[in-house]
Symmetry: C2
Subunit: 614 residues, 2 copies
C-alpha cells in the first residue's frame, strides 16, 4: 500500500468512525455517503430534527476517540444484493436502501453523484451487481467498498472542521442532510501544520486584506465580479504589469492596442464562436443593427495587426504585447474577491514565428517567467502538456513532434523543474503551464505558454520564406502573470499583504510629532526628495497620537516609517522603523541623512530587492 493509499484508507476509516460516534450519540441517525475528500473526509447525516453545530464537535470527537481507543477491527463481509436491501430496511437506513436499489436496478456505482475528487463508497465499476461488501467495526456496519485500515486505532490525527447543509445526492428537491467535515493526517504534527496554514489562510484571505490594505472595492451599483481598484491596488497592478512588460520588451516584444469589442465575425473565423459562443457577453447597439461581443481573448485581434501588411521571413519573429482586459460570463454564484471576476486583465503576448524559431522564443519567455516569479518570491515548476496518438489534434504531426522537443529543450536549458503529461495538450498545440507554490504550500497554475498551429491557418496568416514561397507562421500565446486579478488574489495571500519594497503601494510613511514651521519644512524636504527619486511617500496628516500613527502604518504593512520630531530636526538624521519581515539582523537603529535614506530605498526599488538594506 502506498503512503497515499494508506492515508486514503485512514481518512475513509475516520468517516466510518464519525458515523459510528454519531450513531452512539443519536441512535435515530440515518446515513448517506461518507467519502474521502482533499485533506480529509465527510459524512452526510440526517438526524430528523437534531441540528449538529460546532458546539457538538467536542462531544462527537470524544466519542470518536473512545472508538479509537477500543481498537475495533474493520471486518469485511459480503451480502447478496437483496439481502443487503433487507439489511438496510431493518437497520432503518432509507438512504442506504435507495442506493442499494439503484445499484440493483442500474448495475452502476452511485458514486457518479459525487464530485470527481471524492471516492465512491459502495461498488466498483459497472455491470451486474450480485454481491455488495460491508465493513463492520464494533457495533457499526456500513455498506462500503473499502479498503480500510486494520483497526480503529490506526487512523492518525484528525479534527472535525465544519458542518454544512447538503441536499441528498446534490438535488435540491431531495431532503437536506448535514455534511460533517473532518481533516486527518498520519501525524499530529502534520495535522497541526495543516490547521496552522488554514488559520493563516483565513488571516490572509485576500478579500479581508484587500479591505484592510485599501486595495480594491466592490460596488452593488457596478455589479458582482467587477472589482474597482483604489490608488493602492492600482500601484500593484501597474508595477506588476510594467515589470512583466519590461521583461518581454527586452526580448523585442512591442506593445499594441486593440478595442474591447468586436463583431462576432472575428470569432466565427477563429473558431471560438462555435466552441465558446454561449459564454460570451453580447453587446447590442441601439443606434444600428450591429451586434458585438466583449472579447474573451486577444489573439484573433492581434492576428489582424499581423495581417495588416506583408511579412518576410526576415521580419519574423513579430512579437506583440498588450495588457488588456477580456470578459468571461461567469455565473454570479461563482464570483468572489479577485479569484474569479468577470473582467479579467491579462498581461498577454503573441509571437508569430517560423517553426525553427520556436525554441529560442520559448526560452526567452521561460527566462522572463523565471525572473518575475523569483522577484515575487514564488517557487515555479512547469507542466509540459503534449499530444497523444488520438485523432483530436490539428496541425502537422511532424511540427508537433519538433515543437514538443523544442519546448522540452527550452525548459531544460532554463534549468526549470518540470514534468510531462501526454494527452493534455490543447487541440491546437502543446503547452507549458507554470505552477507556482505559495507561502501556504498551495500550488496555483498562473502563467502559461501555448503553441498554436491552428489559428494562423484559419486567419490565413503568412510570410514570404527565403525561397519566395508563402508559408504559415506559428503563434505562441503567453501571459506571465496570467490574469492580473487572479495573480493578485494569490499573491496577496502569499505575502499576507507584506509586499516587497518595490511593490509596496506606500514605501515610506512620515509621522510628524507636532506642527511647527521648522518641522513642516523638514518634512517637505523629505517628501520632495522621495518624489524626485520616485519613492512612494505618504505623510500621515490625521489628528492622532504618534503611537496611533505608528500602529496605523503597521496595519497598512508599510515597509518604512519615520518619526520626525525635534531630535531629527536637530541632527538632520532619521532612524527608520523597518517592517519586521524585511529587516536584516544587525542593521536596525542606524540613523540616516535624508539623502542616504531615500537613495537606499530607491536602490532597493530599482533592484527589486527582497530584503531591506537599511
Amino acid at each position: 500500500m502506498s503512503d497515499n493509499d494508506k492515508l486514503q484508507a485512514m481518512r475513509h476509516s475516520l468517516a466510518h468512525i464519525t458515523a459510528a460516534a454519531v450513531q452512539r450519540l443519536w441512535p435515530q441517525a440515518k446515513f448517506g455517503v461518507g467519502p474521502v475528500v482533499k485533506d480529509g473526509f465527510y459524512y452526510d447525516i440526517d438526524i430528523d430534527k437534531v441540528t449538529i453545530s460546532t458546539d457538538d464537535f467536542a462531544k462527537i470527537e470524544a466519542e470518536m476517540r473512545k472508538i479509537i481507543e477500543e481498537k475495533q477491527a474493520f471486518e469485511r463481509s459480503e451480502k447478496q444484493i437483496d439481502d443487503a436491501i433487507g439489511w438496510a430496511k431493518e437497520a432503518k437506513q432509507p438512504y442506504k436502501e435507495e442506493l442499494l436499489n439503484d445499484l440493483k436496478r442500474s448495475g452502476t456505482t452511485v458514486a457518479s453523484d459525487l464530485n470527481a475528487d471524492e471516492l465512491g463508497t459502495i461498488a466498483d465499476g459497472e455491470g451486474v451487481v450480485e454481491n455488495v461488501s460491508f465493513y463492520t467495526n464494533g457495533d457499526f456496519t456500513d455498506l462500503c467498498r473499502g479498503p480500510h485500515v486494520g483497526s480503529t486505532s490506526e487512523v492518525g490525527a484528525f479534527k472535525l472542521l465544519r458542518v454544512a447543509g447538503a441536499y441528498w445526492r446534490g438535488k435540491e428537491t431531495n431532503p437536506q442532510m448535514q455534511r460533517l467535515y473532518g481533516v486527518a493526517f498520519e501525524t499530529k504534527e502534520q495535522l497541526d501544520h495543516y490547521l496552522e496554514l488554514q488559520e493563516q489562510a483565513k488571516q490572509r484571505d485576500h478579500r479581508k486584506l484587500g479591505k484592510e490594505l485599501d486595495l480594491f472595492v466592490t460596488s452593488e451599483l457596478v455589479g458582482s465580479g467587477l472589482p474597482l481598484f483604489t490608488p493602492r491596488g492600482t500601484v500593484l497592478r501597474e508595477e506588476l504589469t510594467e515589470y512583466s512588460n519590461d521583461l518581454r520588451e527586452n526580448y523585442g516584444f512591442e506593445k499594441v492596442w486593440i478595442p474591447h469589442i468586436t463583431k462576432t465575425a472575428l470569432y466565427e473565423k477563429s473558431g471560438h464562436q462555435a466552441k465558446f459562443g454561449d459564454e460570451l457577453f453580447l453587446v447590442k447597439s441601439q443606434e444600428t443593427s450591429d451586434e458585438f461581443v466583449l472579447k474573451p481573448m486577444n489573439c484573433p485581434h492581434h492576428t489582424r495587426i499581423y495581417a495588416s501588411k506583408p511579412r518576410s521571413y526576415r521580419d519574423l519573429p513579430v512579437r506583440y504585447l498588450e495588457t488588456t482586459t477580456v470578459y468571461r460570463d461567469e455565473k454570479t454564484g461563482e464570483l468572489g474577491g479577485l479569484s474569479r471576476v468577470r473582467s479579467i486583465t491579462q498581461d498577454d503576448s503573441h509571437v508569430f514565428c517560423r517553426g525553427d524559431q520556436i525554441e529560442q522564443e520559448i526560452a526567452n519567455l521561460l527566462a522572463a517567467a523565471s525572473e518575475i516569479y523569483k522577484a515575487v518570491g514564488m517557487d515555479l515548476r512547469v507542466r509540459l502538456s503534449y499530444r497523444d496518438d488520438s485523432d483530436g489534434y490539428l496541425g502537422d504531426p511532424a511540427l508537433w513532434k519538433t515543437a514538443q522537443d523544442q519546448l522540452r529543450n527550452a525548459v531544460e536549458a532554463n534549468g526549470l523543474k518540470y514534468f510531462e503529461v501526454e494527452g493534455e495538450a490543447a487541440f491546437y498545440g502543446p503547452k507549458i503551464d507554470f505552477m507556482a507554490t505559495d507561502a501556504l504550500e498551495r500550488e496555483h497554475q498562473l502563467a502559461t505558454v501555448q503553441l498554436d498551429f491552428v489559428q494562423p491557418d484559419r486567419f490565413e496568416l503568412e510570410y514570404i520564406s527565403d525561397d519566395g514561397s508563402r508559408q504559415t507562421p506559428v503563434m505562441i500565446h503567453c501571459a506571465l502573470l496570467g490574469s492580473v486579478e487572479r495573480f493578485l488574489s494569490v499573491y496577496i495571500e502569499h505575502t499576507g499583504g507584506k509586499f516587497p519594497v518595490w511593490l509596496a503601494p506606500e514605501q515610506i510613511r512620515v509621522i510628524q510629532v507636532k506642527d511647527s514651521p521648522e518641522l513642516d519644512a523638514f518634512v517637505d524636504k523629505l517628501v520632495a526628495l522621495a518624489k524626485e527619486n520616485k519613492v512612494r511617500i505618504v505623510v500621515d496628516r490625521t489628528n492622532e497620537s504618534v503611537g496611533k500613527k505608528i500602529r496605523a502604518a503597521e496595519v497598512l504593512k508599510v515597509p518604512y516609517s519615520v518619526v520626525i520630531g525635534e531630535k531629527e530636526l536637530e541632527t538632520g538624521k532619521l532612524t527608520p522603523r523597518v517592517r519586521k519581515d524585511l529587516a536584516v539582523e544587525g542593521r536596525q537603529d542606524e540613523a540616516y541623512e535624508l539623502e542616504k535614506l531615500i537613495s537606499s530605498i530607491a536602490n532597493e526599488v530599482r533592484s527589486r530587492a527582497q530584503n531591506s538594506s537599511i
Copy 2:
C-alpha cells in the same frame, strides 16, 4: 458693415453670380437655394439630364469672370407674395415656387432646412409674410434676403471647388440636385493660402498617414469605428498618455482602475441613464439574467472608490487619474479613421475637493494643459462657459458664483488667452474648454475642465469638515488630451506625421551598407547603446539598396538615420541624416561617436525638445 459681414455679402453675391453663369450656359437650369457656408458658398442646381463635372468648372468660372467684369449692380426689389409666386411660375423655377408657397402658407423661413452654419436666403424671422425681396444683377433675378455687395466687381477672389449630389431640401424622396461649391476670400493671397492649406490637409489626412506610417489599422472582422493600433501607433498612445499622467501625478493625482462594464443601476443613480440611455451599448449575460452597459463615462465609477471609505477635510483633495476606454454607440455612417470611433480612450481624471480648493486645483490642471500643448506645438486658448439667469442650472447659486470667479482667476494666473460665454455651462457646473489651433489653422476643442456640483450630491459623497459636520465635495472632471483617438487624428494632421523626437515611434534608423561580421558587431553595439538609453532604434534588414533604404526612412519620417559602412567602422563615428523640419542650421554633417550620438538623442527625448540638437 463689419469685415465679416462684408465677406459674407461677397460670398453670397458669388452664389448669385454662379447661378447667373450657369443660367447663361444652361438656360433650362432650375435653382434651389444658394447660401453662404464656411469659407465660401454653394448653389443647388437642377439641369435635367446635364451632369456638371469638375471639367466644366473652367467654363463656368470663365462665365463668372465675364459677369464680374461687367460690373453689374445688385439691385433690390420687392414683390407681394402672390406676385412672387407668379414670377417663379413664369420663370419656370419650380423650386423657388415651392419655397414661396411654403412661405405663404407657414409664414416661416425655409432656412430651417439648412444646417445651422448656413445662412438662410429668403426671409427673416417668423410671422405672416406679405412682401418678399428680390435681387437682380444683369439679366439674373433671384428671390433673396440680401445683403449683397454693390456690384459684381466687388466679390474678391474665388474658386469653384467641387460638385456633389444633394437631395432637394435634404429629403431622400425629393429630386436629387447638384450642389456646386465655391470658396471665396477678399484677396487672391487669402484664397491661395486657403487652397494651399486644403492641399496640405489632403496630404496630411490622418487616415492616409495612418496607413503610410503604419500607425493603426481597421478590420472588417472587428467592425467599423474600432481601430487597432500597431506597435508604432501604440508608441504614440503610450507616450502621450504617460506624459499627460506624469503632469498630473506631479500635482498629487493617483491612478485607479475600473471595469469597462457596469450594471445600469450606476447610471440610474448618476442620472445619465435618463439623459443618455438610448446611446449606450447594452451588454447581456447569457449565463445569468444580469444586464450591463459598456461605460460611456468614468465619473460614476470613480465616485464608488471615493465613497469606499470615510474622508476628512484633511484628506481632500482626493485626485483620481485613469487612462481608460469609454464606448459611444455612434451611427456607422459617422465613423471614419480616428476622428469618430466607438471605443474612445480618455486620459480622464477626477478631483474631489472642498469649495475653497477649486481655484488651486483648476490652476494645476491649466498648468498641466499648457505644458502638454506646448510640447506638442499647438496654440491654446480657453473658453469659459458660465451659467446665465435661467432656471436650468442645478446647485447652489452662491457656489456657482465663487466657482466661476475661481475659474477666471486660475485662467488669468496661468496667463492663458480666454473668452467668456454666458449660458454655455452644463446644467451641473461651469467649465473650461481648451481650443487648440493646428498647423492648418483649424481650431479644435480637445481638453476640458468641468466643475460638477450635482453628481457628488446624487451619489451622496461626503467629507467630515473641521467643525465635524458632513459636507458634500465638489467634483472636477478633466481630460488633458480629451479622447486619445481624436487627439491623434488632429495631431497626425497637425504634424503631417513629422512627430518630434520624443514622440517618434522610431527615433533612429540604421542602414548597414553590407553584411560583414565587423559591421554587424558595430551595429549591435549601437543598438545595445540605444536600448540602454531607451532610444527607439530600428535596423533596416530588408534586401534593398542603400538608396531605397534611405528613401524608406524618409517615407516613415524617422527623425534620424545613420548609414554604416567601412568608413564609419574605421573612424568609429557616425554622421546622422536629420529629418529636415528638425534640423537646426549649421549643425549638419557633424560626425559623432556612438555614445555622444545616443546620449544627445536621449537628452532630446527627456526634455521633449522640439528641434534637433544634432
